[in-house]
Amino acid sequence: MHQLLQQIFSGIAAGAVYASLALALVMIYRATDLVNFAQGEMAMFSTYIAWTLVNAGLPFWAAFVITLAVSFVGGMVIERIVIRPVENAPILTAVVVTIGLLLIFNATAGWIYSYTLQEFPSPFPDRTLFGALMTTRDVGVIAVTLVMLAALFCFFRFTATGLAMRAAAQNPESARLCGVRVGRMLALGWGFAAAIGAVAGIMVAPVLFLDPNMMGGVLLYAFTGALLGGITSPVGAVIGGLIVGVTENLVGTYLIASQLKLTVALILIIIVLVFRPNGLFGTAVVRRV
């Protein structure tokens, strides 16, 4: 029982990271109907920026804030320069462009920082709580994710810009007629997604160690979480990410050797999707003919 609770809790901590990245994917999907395959590598690159800053002697949280700001601007720049030209191209073209971005970020990070594993400092002390039921690290990761989610919720719910962004994602034409600068909102969306990804990267780096391929597996889990929750639903993405984290941990502990862990987790999730093809919280697209 103790082990089960322990596994569930560390699953939730891992899931919090997947949930963040899943949320970033959903934000971009809602705005541009595009699955951003470069999301993980963008997050990895942001984490390297944080690593550089910390190594330069900055305190952790200062580096954290600066990294978020840099990532935000970087995300907006990428939307403007790289994504805008293929906005009206066939969907596969846009997908290939994000795969191209993935390769560019991965190779550039390897070129600048080399492919060796780097240790990344954790801002949380390494102690166990409640009779070794959970670690402070896990609690810290979950707390940071919750704060970020609350901040995002308030932004989208209570500010004029948040409202405009929701409008631009929901119905670009009408939003434009109401005077919303849709293009700018899409760029903002990419900026937010990049910053959220940066949080996920920084939270996961102390566990996985930093290297250019760090986010490959995380992105896959995040993608799965986003789809499990419903690719159009931000709440679904968060819950989906958490479910994936817990499932992954439990499957790895109780069902099968970790060699096939990924496969089994994916198969379980696909089975769920066969019964709910739009995800747990997604809405079916109703088409008018």
């Binding site: 293929v86 191209g100 550039t108 896959l220 060699q259």
Partner: protein, 344 residues
Amino acid sequence: MAESVSLDGTAKLAMERETRMAIAVWRWAGTAALIAVAVVLPFTLSNYHVFELTQVMIYAIAVLGLNILTGYNGQISLGHGGFFAAGAYTAAILMHRYGVPYWATLAPAALVCFGLGVLFGLPALRFEGPYLALVTLAMAVAMPQLLKYFDNWTGGKQGLVLVKPMPPPELGIDRDRWLYLFVLVVLLVAIRVAANLLNGRTGRAFVAIRDHPIAAAAMGINTARYKTLAFGTSTLFTGVAGALAAIVIGFVAPESFTLFLSLSFLIGSAVGGIATIGGAIVGGFFIEFVPNFANDISDAAPWAIYGLTMLLFMYVMPRGVVGTLGPWLAHAMQQFRSARRAAK
């Protein structure tokens, strides 16, 4: 009055027929010339280049398969590397364990991959867009792990080493050139089969489902059957390509069939032009040569150059090389023809 109209119409029809026949003649001549070049080419190149071109043709067959599914039927697959692996291992196991001659492994590989594709296509009926992408992605990720797991069949991590096939001695050519010609024949057959399939009733059904599934169903197309068929046909082509790869390289191992292979097929398909047959060949060239070219430019970060090349291709030709240049060429030819007619 009515007579003059009909005369006019007849004249026009005759002229159109003439144009169409001229185009057909040119097309046949062009195809024959291309095939002739493809047959002669290996005898003017070094062994290594012949091997590279053989790889190009194998990739072209795999991309052709993906084009049938993604380009003509509108279903995205990130998992064709998995079917490529299935084809490769079917051929490898037949050759390694049962001593089946290499040329006889293509049909079983095709059959196995068709079956797998149909099995996979059934649940895929319920998925669209990114969901289908996830399911196929899961396939691509799971494949290397599964291959390692069933190691008494697949040789596990070490893979299987195969005996490279020998050319018939009376031809007097070496192994690389023989394999090149063997793959060339398979490629030509594959193109012919794909063209017949896609230009006929089945192909029109695929396209109708891609463009408007509800309208297609309303017109009496059995969408479930045709979507599954598209999946099966697509994986059949890719599986044959996988079998050829196993034969030509003479070695299969789980690590050759990573997610990156699946992504390469998708990239090749998009660069060549997704709903074209010729685009598959362009895609094959891209997959084989652009990484080398990127390596020549920059030792430090070749994949960054590869990524940049992809972006460049997509900006300049968002519909792929053949998808963009094809219509442009056809338009230019028509202009030229009508100008010549006016001159007459």
